[in-house]
Amino acid sequence: MNIFENIGKYFVLMKAAFTKPVRAKIFGKRILAEIDSIGINSIWIISIVSVFMGAVLTLQVAINFENPFIPRYLVGLSTRDTMILEFSSTVICLILAGKVGSNIASEIGTMRITEQIDALEIMGVNSANYLILPKIVAAFITFPFLSILSIILGIVGGYLVSLFTGVVSLYDYVYGLHYAFIPFYVFYTLIKMCVFAVIITSVSSFCGYYTQGGALEVGVSSTKAVVYSIIIILIFNLILTQLLLT
């Protein structure tokens, strides 16, 4: 199917999703459930990846800049800014696209092929609104927190590696963390996180929602969800960086 038709279908689906829920109480419950499955369930993977990346970034920079004219505290600064600017938003979201995106697409895809979505529609329920909107809202709320968590743990990872290997002194590392800190960078990352949250959840829901066929096709949708989410995230990363940082 051609790309413009898909984009059109995507926006029609989003229009149906972004309507007022019938029951606020049920909507609230759905959001809480999704916060658990989308956000809370991702904490461990984000934590592990962030600690290790912070540690490796610190090691790399410390080893590669063994030049007496480059001050050592730049190691701390580079770990901090790399985490804040790119790692704890873009890279984390690429990982979340794999975990959350495939999960959403296969969940909704399975509901499609087992006629659970038809069952919702027959009951007079707006299935897009019922299934998709809570996921988007939940990701929108939780992703910024995951990002903050990732920044902190990345910096902790760098700290630990400095502590245990001594590639850079703790004093220099911590001094670098404070040096020339630009609070706007954090704001920039949180904005990116919110945008990526919407991209991952809505694109993956779209891929799942229009699954046709059987179990095999659910797998195909799930793969598509990950690939499309990643490509769109990369494009928007470029656009947002251009808009916000230049």
Binding site: T110, M111, E115, Q116, D118, A119, I122, M123, V125
Partner: protein, 250 residues
């Protein structure tokens, strides 16, 4: 009463339904029969608007459905209960939550009133002590019965069943068939059932529509089937040795 007038539906040039006319009466079980792939499911889903027919009218007690606003369609759908081929229970919800689902959305009952209604519906379909089980934990026959309980929880005026006994053993099939018949009469529902199972037709059909080559090829009641000389209908009905013997002994 549901009136279907001149409904047509195709997928990519392939005409699945071509000018279907039918009338479904309250308090009766109307059955749509035909081979697999003849378009029974498409017809059922077109009647309730899950597929949009290219042509034709559908009237629910005089209310035009095709082309009506989605809001109006949702209003009518609240009066419809549907039993899907695979049951289509929500896998992430328990039996009780499944049956309660429509009540949560569309009634203002208190918690205990809802529970009463759920238990009433479950008892009506002979499900006991399974409120807290998940669909994956109960048998296919039970899933179908829970799906019926969910379909009738809001006291629907119209009941649609897509191959209610596919995948069930003969005993469970008859159980489900009889349940559908009883409920139809008890609540004076307009019931439409898809099937390719002639046993069901003999058991519960009040009116039969035979779909062949995208058209209503034959219609009548389940007595008349035996005396029809429609060739395609006979080929379909008397495919099994059992039914051939029955015909010979008539």
């Amino acid at each position: 009463m549901i009136e279907v007038k001149n409904i047509s539906k195709s997928f990519n040039e392939h005409k699945v339904l071509d000018g279907i006319n039918a009338e479904f009466q309250p308090g009766q079980v109307s059955m749509i029969i035909g081979q697999s792939g003849s378009g029974k499911t498409v017809l059922l889903k077109s009647i309730i608007g899950l597929y949009i027919p290219e042509d034709g009218e559908i009237l629910f007690d005089g209310r035009e459905f095709v082309g009506a606003s989605i809001k109006f369609q949702r209003e009518i759908r609240k009066e419809i209960g549907m039993l899907f081929q695979g049951g289509a229970l929500f896998t992430s919800l328990t039996v009780e939550e499944n049956v309660m689902f429509p009540l949560n959305l569309f009634t203002d009952y208190s918690k205990s009133e809802k529970l009463d209604r759920v238990n009433f519906c479950l008892e009506r379909v002979n499900i006991k002590d399974s409120n807290y089980l998940y669909p994956a934990e109960i048998s296919g026959g039970m899933q179908k019965r829970v799906a019926i309980a969910r379909a009738i929880s809001l006291n629907p005026k119209y009941l649609f069943c897509d191959e209610p006994n596919s995948g069930l053993d003969p005993q469970n099939s008859i159980l489900i068939d009889r349940l559908i018949k009883e409920l139809t009469q008890e609540y004076n529902m307009t019931t439409i059932v898809n099937t390719h199972d002639m046993n069901s037709v003999m058991e519960i059909a009040d009116k039969v529509y035979f779909i062949n080559k995208a058209k209503v090829w034959w219609s009548g009641n389940n007595e008349e089937i035996f005396h029809s000389d429609n060739k395609e209908l006979n080929d379909f009905v008397f495919a099994s040795e059992l039914f051939k013997k029955i015909k010979e002994n008539l």
